[in-house]
């Protein structure tokens, strides 16, 4: 089958949008489908389509798809997929699929919003026009806000506002920086362009790089989140209704790290290098700070939220190493965190569904009531503290090993985070699983939960034992991103004004898998 990448990407983007529209228009009524069924259908379709991306990538010569839209402002639909985007899309689609398994009783509007979030995530992963990226980046705000306020408690409403204003404040900096980048390109080249390809060709002066870096950084730092920008996160994750924390915790952060990698690192390498030590310090503070507060946290989701901050810290630390292995480790951490966070929050959701109470102390002795549940709790806790043979170990190892070479002392503090991870995670397990059971009725996991958790666990283990495919792929991507100075890229892609823009943006390609 000959699949054109452009078609695949379009279908990939349009499927959730159309799904959302259909759900919104209550199209299900006409063919007697429940909203949940439609949602599941769409998420399956997205997963299926995303499997075509690599084959399309392998067939075509390039990963770039370009539709002219508003050329005078440099705004076009430019889509691009490399291994990183591909993996991220696959994981994203997968998480939405899993959520569909877990939550089957919601209204059409609920699922429509979820599909919009999916659109937004997929869109931002594949768009390489800065403004289009920004568009998708912001697109998720409203659905999230809607879901939080409509289905959540009054606390959730507050959290929704906090999330909204925080993220917005960050992303407006991004907007400003994007426009400034375009304008700076305009001053140099005489054309206003927001295409990543064009901007990669352009060498920003160091001062410009610094300013722009900060603009981009603030937005991504809020989304990731990086240490002082994280305050929205515990509130949001803790108050997200209906298990939506699974989606939020599992997927939102990747936008930030992806952005840091693709844009900050790609466009402003010098500024990034200058800023790397600070970034490493912030990341490490995040790791230790998250761990300490997770330890202190009394609520289940609060603990998981702070744990997320800690985990994301490793990812950021990886990027800050500016070493191919470190960066690829950081990228791998994205995927490991997706799997683990989804697993952990699924567990939290399962607990909430069975017994009211959000504090850790509301539960006790579940191990004797629900062995399967306990098995998964232990497994995900262990994965979360990155036991070897889980995916998180590989990423964390690469990150720490690379960062040790660059920032030895900082790394020692990060290792402290590794230890503290065990402290809070095992404390959590002990608190909820062990001891005399507190309540009589705590049913074990139902089949859907089992399937979702088991599939996550299998992925965690497979990627932990055989991560070679992913690490090589990400390694190549990272290496290209790091080594490709603007002039080199220029050499690779030739004249960018060329009609054949598609030659451009050789960040990495799925073809470039060297292993075996």
């Amino acid at each position: 089958m000959n699949f054109n990448l452009s078609i695949v990407l379009q279908v990939l983007l349009l499927t959730p949008i159309l799904g959302a529209i259909c759900l919104f228009l209550k199209a299900g009524k006409f063919c007697e489908l429940t909203p949940a069924w439609m949602y599941n259908f769409v998420t399956w379709a997205v997963v299926a389509v995303s499997f075509f991306v690599p084959s399309a990538l392998l067939l075509g010569e390039t990963g770039l798809v370009h539709f002219s839209w508003f050329p005078s402002m440099g705004i076009n639909f430019s889509f691009y997929a490399d291994g990183l985007s591909y993996l991220a899309i696959l994981f994203t689609a997968f998480v939405f699929l899993i959520y569909g398994l877990l939550n089957r009783e919601q209204s059409a509007g609920f699922y429509a919003c979820l599909l919009l979030i999916e659109t937004s995530l997929i869109g931002l992963l594949i768009s390489v026009n800065l403004l289009v990226f920004y568009f998708f980046y912001e697109l998720m705000l409203f659905p999230i806000f809607y879901l939080m306020t409509t289905y959540g408690s009054s606390e959730a409403k507050k959290a929704a506002y906090q999330f909204l204003l925080y993220t917005l404040a960050g992303s407006l900096c991004l907007l400003l920086a994007i426009i400034y980048a375009g304008y700076s390109y305009f001053q140099a080249e005489g054309v206003f362009s927001l295409e990543l390809v064009d901007l990669l060709n352009h060498t920003f002066t160091l001062n410009e790089q610094r300013i722009l870096f900060l603009g981009f950084f603030v937005a991504f730092a809020v989304k990731s989140p990086i240490f002082p920008f994280h305050t929205w996160l515990p509130a949001t994750y803790s108050n997200a209704p209906k298990g939506l924390a699974i989606i939020f915790a599992g997927l939102l952060f990747q936008a930030g790290i992806y952005g840091l990698f693709r844009f900050n690192l790609g466009l402003f390498p010098q500024a990034f290098a200058e800023f790397a030590p600070t970034l490493a310090v912030l990341a490490t503070i995040g790791i230790v700070y998250g761990a300490l507060l997770a330890w202190r946290s009394k609520s289940i989701r609060g603990l998981m939220a702070y744990a997320s901050i800690s985990h994301v810290g490793f990812s950021i630390l990886g990027l800050a190493t500016l070493n191919p292995s470190g960066v690829s480790g950081g990228l791998l951490q994205i995927f490991s965190h997706i799997l683990i966070a989804v697993g952990l929050f699924t567990i939290a959701y399962a607990m909430e569904r069975r017994q009211s109470g959000e504090l850790i102390t509301d539960f006790r002795g579940l191990a004797s009531k629900a062995p399967v549940f306990s098995f998964f709790v232990i497994c995900f806790s262990l994965a979360s503290i990155s036991l070897p043979l889980t995916i998180s170990f590989v990423g964390e190892f690469q990150v720490l090993a690379a960062s040790f070479a660059k920032f030895p002392i900082i790394t020692c503090f990060a290792l402290l985070g590794v230890i503290l991870g065990a402290v809070y995670m095992l404390g959590f397990c002990q608190q909820i699983l062990f001891g005399e059971p507190m309540t009589e009725d705590f049913d074990d996991l139902d089949p859907n939960e089992r399937i979702s958790l088991a599939s996550l666990l299998v992925l965690i283990l497979i990627l932990g034992v055989l991560p070679r495919f992913a690490t090589d792929l990400l390694g190549v991507i990272a290496k290209n991103q790091l080594s490709a100075s603007p002039s080199e890229i220029l050499e690779i892609i030739g004249n960018p004004k060329d009609k054949k823009l598609s030659e451009g943006l050789v960040l990495a390609n799925l073809q470039v898998i060297p292993h075996e």
């Binding site: 202190r296 002795g365 262990l382 036991l387």
Partner: protein, 614 residues
């Protein structure tokens, strides 16, 4: 062929673990035998795989299973190293492991969670084998963490008791600290010489020497890891608490195998440690202090398993004294003999506790020699062995260690400490022996839970091993291990030497038996004398105050200072400012048209001045 066997060695316990759990859930009684069969099969596979090495111990083989991942173009393979050292360790693990599995069938026969127990045990065997078979530090790390995990799971096996669960957590966390050291060491090696494979590190060190500070740091990191896993100061405190697990677990993990992983690791990396005499000195001091302290504490304990646990810590200290002195082979020899007699002791203790329905305090035991004859004999033999009385296995290994330590000359004028340490062992072991078997019964002995043959057989085997190991092993082990680690030879003592060296322990033993009942009469005196040992030198409390409390304080400080005070206050201050300013602004809009006109006119004036003047 060898690689296939080797794969089997590893895979059988892993698959066994899965099968045991899956099948065991349907019929729990199958789980024990199944797990035992798996372990024995692994033992057999080890023997088969080791054939060639038995014949020629210089042989070594690297089996590359698959490529795991890569770091900075360094391929990190999932590879196994098969040489005499790993074979030696594998034999101990699977051999002693099999016996303990067998024992556990009897010991756990009434527990409903048997499948889980045996699955964990098999999993432990897998990880332990992985640890000793690893060809590089990263694969070793898998095993290293894996055994820690199994230890955690098994310690908190009876999780309904929160104290047990907490003990498991404590063990894991202390191990985790050590693991961080190991990671640090790996990073240092990666950064310093860019290798993680044992053989390559060795080569690189041989060629380039080891004078980099990073390698020093690596050695230090390894030692931190070792203190965690092998319960040395400062990370030993988890081991006594780990006795919360079922007794076979204590025997297998916390006496015979896992805790000796540190000795194994240091032997593996002996060339690295040898390069840093300063570090060796440090290790020696730590080991000596550990040994002494644990011995003292053991004297004052009343929980039978705790006594044995501190004894283990003490014996491990002894091993590290040997390691620090450069006598890796002798340390490994002691690992083997210690595995036999300490496993024997623990399993005997298991029998006792089993018989007394879970009673662990030695003060509540007594007069058991009649009721548990086999146990009595085994315990006696093992006690004698650990007290280093000729011709039992313990004598040979321990005596060699003392010699090696003296040779190394670290102690100088403190060599009398060695005697003290040895005698402490005799004292606490004899005390426990006396209190358990010889003293007057404190409780009703009629309703004893007699040990089954399944429980008696393994301890008998261990006793036999304890007796014969001393005669067989010294000669063979020297040759056998020398290719893998530094050249060494053990010259077995003659009968007369042996007897001569045994006089002192025997005297102390007899003295202890005589004095213990008397001392028990003077409770107050004992309390005063043993105040510190009884309270374990307050190490737990000190750690609590020095580590846990500060971290807790730090966390709450961060929580209140940064999370709440700074950030949240900033945000609420921002929103409050916004609200206040908007409310005060809306006060101006009070509906008075004259005010509006006035404000507009003032604005006109101000703005005109603003424009024209500026």
């Amino acid at each position: 062929m060898v690689s296939t066997y080797l794969t089997f060695v590893l895979l059988i316990p892993l698959l066994g673990s899965l099968l045991v759990y899956l099948i065991g859930r349907q019929s729990p009684s199958v789980s024990g035998p199944l797990a035992t069969i798996a372990c024995v099969a692994s033992f057999v596979a080890t023997l088969l795989a080791g054939q060639s090495i038995f014949l020629d111990s210089t042989q070594s083989l690297t089996v590359n299973l698959f490529s795991w991942f890569s770091f900075n173009n360094i391929d990190i393979n999932f590879a196994l190293l098969w040489d005499s050292l790993s074979l030696f360790m594998c034999l101990i693990i699977t051999g002693v492991g099999s016996l303990i599995h067998l024992y556990s069938i009897g010991y756990m026969s009434e527990d409903d969670s048997r499948p889980r127990f045996f699955a964990y045990l098999n999993l432990f065997i897998f990880f332990m084998l992985l640890l000793v078979l690893a060809n590089n530090l990263l694969v070793l790390f898998i095993g290293w963490e894996g055994v820690g995990l199994c230890s955690y799971l098994l310690i908190s096996f009876w999780f309904k008791n929160l104290d047990y669960a907490k003990a498991g957590k404590k063990a894991f966390i202390f191990n985790r600290i050590g693991d961080a050291g190991l990671l640090l060491a790996i990073f240092c090696l990666l950064f310093g010489i860019g290798e993680v494979e044992f053989l390559r590190i060795e080569q690189s060190l041989l060629i380039n020497g080891a004078f980099q500070p990073y390698l020093y740091l690596a050695a230090l990191g390894l030692f931190i890891a070792v203190t965690g896993k092998s319960a040395q100061i400062p990370l030993y405190v988890w081991l006594p608490d780990a006795m919360a697990g079922p007794t076979p677990v204590s025997a297998l993990i916390h006496a015979a195998t896992m805790v000796t992983a540190g000795v194994y690791l240091m032997s593996r990396m002996s060339y690295l440690f040898d390069a840093f005499p300063m570090l060796q000195h440090l290790i020696f001091i730590i080991a000596t202090v550990t040994c002494l302290m644990a011995g003292l504490i053991a004297v004052a304990q009343s929980d039978l398993k705790k006594i044995l646990a501190y004894s283990t810590v003490s014996q491990l200290g002894l091993m590290f004294m040997a390691v620090a002195s450069g006598a890796y082979g002798i340390a490994l020899f002691h690992v083997a003999t210690h595995a036999f007699f300490k496993a024997g002791l623990f399993l005997s203790a298991g029998n006792i506790i089993h018989a007394l329905h879970g009673e662990q305090s030695v003060h509540k035991m007594g007069g058991l020699w009649k009721k548990l004859p086999v146990t009595f004999v085994v315990y006696l033999i093992c006690t004698l062995a650990i007290s280093a009385i000729y011709p039992l296995a313990g004598y040979f290994s321990k005596h060699e260690i003392l010699l090696a330590v003296k040779d190394a000359g670290y102690l100088g004028s403190f060599s009398w400490l060695l005697t003290v340490i040895s005698m402490l062992t005799v004292v606490y072991m004899t005390r426990s022996f006396y209190l358990v078997f010889l003293a007057k019964p404190k409780s009703d002995l009629e309703h004893l839970h007699a040990p089954s043959i399944l429980m008696n057989f393994p301890i008998a085997v261990l006793a036999v091993l304890t007796v014969i190991a001393g005669f067989i092993m010294p000669e063979t082990l020297g040759q056998f291990l020398s290719p893998a680690i530094k050249e060494f030879a053990i010259k077995p003592d003659t009968l007369s030497e042996g007897l001569a060296h045994s006089i002192l322990p025997i005297v102390v033993l007899v003295l202890t038996i005589v004095l213990t009942p008397i001392l028990i009469g003077y409770q107050n005196l004992a309390k005063v004398l043993l105040f510190f040992p009884r309270h374990k030198f307050f190490v737990d409390e000190i750690y609590y105050v020095l580590v846990a409390v500060p971290f807790n304080k730090l966390a709450s400080l961060l929580d209140s200072l940064i999370e709440t005070a700074t950030i949240k206050t900033t945000i609420s201050a921002l929103s409050a400012t916004t609200l206040i300013s908007s409310k005060s602004l809306s006060l101006i809009h009070n509906g008075q048209i004259r005010l509006y006109s006035a404000l507009s006119l003032i604005a006109v004036l101000v703005l005109i001045f603003f424009t024209v003047l500026i």
